[in-house]
């Protein structure tokens, strides 16, 4: 009886994995912003003023993905349709500078592959996630990378329970005062070679909590991230593509 029920589940489950993570585009997703060549009305500052994280600079219009929370407010106030969000999830960057979206931006952002990272971690990468004030949206999306849809294990990339077993620290949240020391301890416990990946607007720039009273970002002053994964929260495909780019996996 229970075997039959199991078989029914198996039949309904079918095959669920996203066959090609590199080309998948999630339908309806508010992803990589595109800045058009429309000219702004003179003195118009509507988008910059409405942005809750001051992610937009003007003349020329530039959008910082490291601050953007994809709230869509800028699109709604703009009289010229200067900014639009595409469904493209590929937004990762290897440097902070790379997260600036300009008018002449390329359609697909790509993290530059590192020969060293490829050699060290290309076939096996163990990740330790630490949430330091994350709101559980980044954490759920990172967890989703290990589900049957995204199945990042197919590339030898896995979450591990201890920093001792990890090659990379994947940090989410703005880093609360109460977690500052724990983040440092987790990093110190990781054997070299190791690297840091920061996930979501909070971790990259402080995001909505940049000016909150209980945030302490000193850790990022002396440990530089090798990978920036923007979003609020980042889509699993954003993370997957960024990390595969970095490792030079096709």
């Amino acid at each position: 009886m229970s075997l039959l029920k199991s078989l029914r589940v198996r039949a309904s489950q079918g095959s669920q994995y996203v066959a090609d993570l590199r080309s998948a585009v999630p339908r309806g997703f508010r992803g990589l912003p595109v800045i058009s060549d429309a000219s702004c009305a003179s003195e118009c500052r509507a988008c910059a003023e409405v942005c809750p994280t001051r992610a937009i600079a003007l003349s020329p219009v530039t959008l910082d993905l490291g601050r953007c929370v994809f709230c869509n407010e800028c699109v709604q106030v703009c009289p010229q349709e200067k900014i639009a969000f595409s469904a493209n999830p590929r937004m990762g960057g290897g440097t902070r500078e790379q997260l600036l979206v300009r008018q002449e931006a390329e359609e697909v952002m790509k993290v530059r592959a590192s020969a060293t990272f490829s050699k060290l971690f290309g076939r096996s990468l163990k990740l330790r996630q630490v949430s330091a004030g994350g709101c559980n949206a980044c954490e759920l999306e990172l967890n989703a990378l290990a589900n049957v849809n995204f199945d990042l294990q197919r590339f030898g990339i896995e979450w591990v329970a201890s920093p001792r077993h990890a090659d990379a620290l994947v940090l989410s949240g703005p880093i609360t005062v109460a977690m500052a020391n724990a983040v440092q301890l987790a990093w110190d416990a990781m054997p070299e070679p190791r690297f840091l990946a920061v996930v979501g607007a909070c971790a990259i720039s402080g995001g909505l909590y940049e000016h909150a009273q209980s945030v302490e970002r000193g850790f990022l002053g002396h440990v530089g991230p090798a990978l920036y994964v923007p979003g609020c929260p980042p889509h699993p495909l954003t993370f997957a593509n960024a990390i595969l780019d970095l490792l030079g996996v096709a």
């Binding site: 029920k5 809750p52 559980n136 989703a144 609020c232």
Partner: protein, 493 residues
Amino acid sequence: MTSSVLVHAVAVARLPSFDVHAWRSELLERLTAGLRVVTLYGRRSHEKEGTVIITAVLQGADRSLQVLRTCVDAQLGYHELTTERPALHCFERELHEQTGLRVAAHPWLKPVRFQGQAQAAMNDYPFYRIEGKEVHEVAVGPIHAGVIEPGSFRFMCQGEQVHHLEIQLGYQHRGVEARLLQLPPARLAPLIETIAGDTSVAHTWAYCAAVEQLCARELPLEVEVARAVALELERIAMHLATLSGLAADIGFLQGATSYGRLRTTAINTLMLLCGSRFGRGALRPGGTGMSLSSELLPQVLDNLELLRVDLAIINDCFLSARTVRHRLREVGVLSRERALQLGVVGVVARASGVACDARDGVSQGAYQVQPVALCTAAEGDCFARAQVRIAEMDASLGWLSIMLARHPGFARSRPPLPALAPGQLVVSIVEGFRGEVVHCLETGASDTLVHYKVQDPSLRNWMGLALAVRGNEISDFPICNKSFDLSYCGHDL
């Protein structure tokens, strides 16, 4: 008003003024008469130096809300109520922590989240200790082994059994409430959405409903329905996340994978409507950021049909599997009596036989035109909490299919709002997937906010978890924890 959620507004000047002794006895009297405490909180008075204004919100059996307010000297304070009314424990601790008010003779004034200056002393605050033969302690956290938020757990064990679990939180404290007062009140939605990012829709709805009340703005039913569609999709998605985790924790892998991939379908449906798998941007004061076009509708209906069909298959397998029943039955029991005593809310309360759901019995709005079934279970164990989640998903799916047949489309709307009415106190309650989300907004003499109190259901439910673990083994803790599935950041703010 047409609001689908419970909103209560009072002019602050019209509130009866009680001195603290009268307030205390009035509060006790009403609680004894069968009213339920919704929230109790305080703020330092701006008008009178050295005093604290305490606000208690109570709910009667007819769902109506009452507000009891007093102003008390912070040094004098009042005599604690927790001993008589344990449901007030978290409120009195928080009140003392946030305002410095003296709460005399309180049995355990440990800060709930160590905010502000207290943060430095977080590691020094003593845990309870037990002493004796075969006694040992296990400390876990703040960083845990999984991809989850931080919190510290101290198990005090006698042999194999957990005698007591002390949960210390606050690691996620970012200073949300303070930040909410620094920004224009009509533009708080993006911040509100990150209070607890897995229940963004519930928190944002509570915020929007309160702001709309302050602007005296009534919404068309279409907007109410769109919001409720987002809330129910969020509920389905998060119940699936919980069940997937619970199945993984007991090694029932078909449950883990099936519930996990069905969650993908649920959140992708929400993304079709609003651009985010977590409902970011779905709700804004005065309107919504959601649209359901005729091109989109077939995909949305297909997704819901897939959820209905495939959920029935995995639910049947999960609930009838001997291994599941054996592992979840009689583990992590929270009795009805204790649930009522502690004032736990939401799924946790309903699984212990307490019939409470903010969507139930509303007199207007989306849940009035089509009520959603109230789901309870009697046993109060991990299995009961799983059963309630499964029943609620079915109820939400049924509700969605009926409502989308009646309202097969909605469009974004974002009408400008007038200024907020001054001198008002508004309380709004939304039933999120964990339980009631309560927001209390108070405007000052102008149209600015003087206080914004946020309450996630987790604040009240963490103590339920601590008590449910007693008498179990440590190895039962992950299962108990997952079956409660509480928020760290929603608690820590």
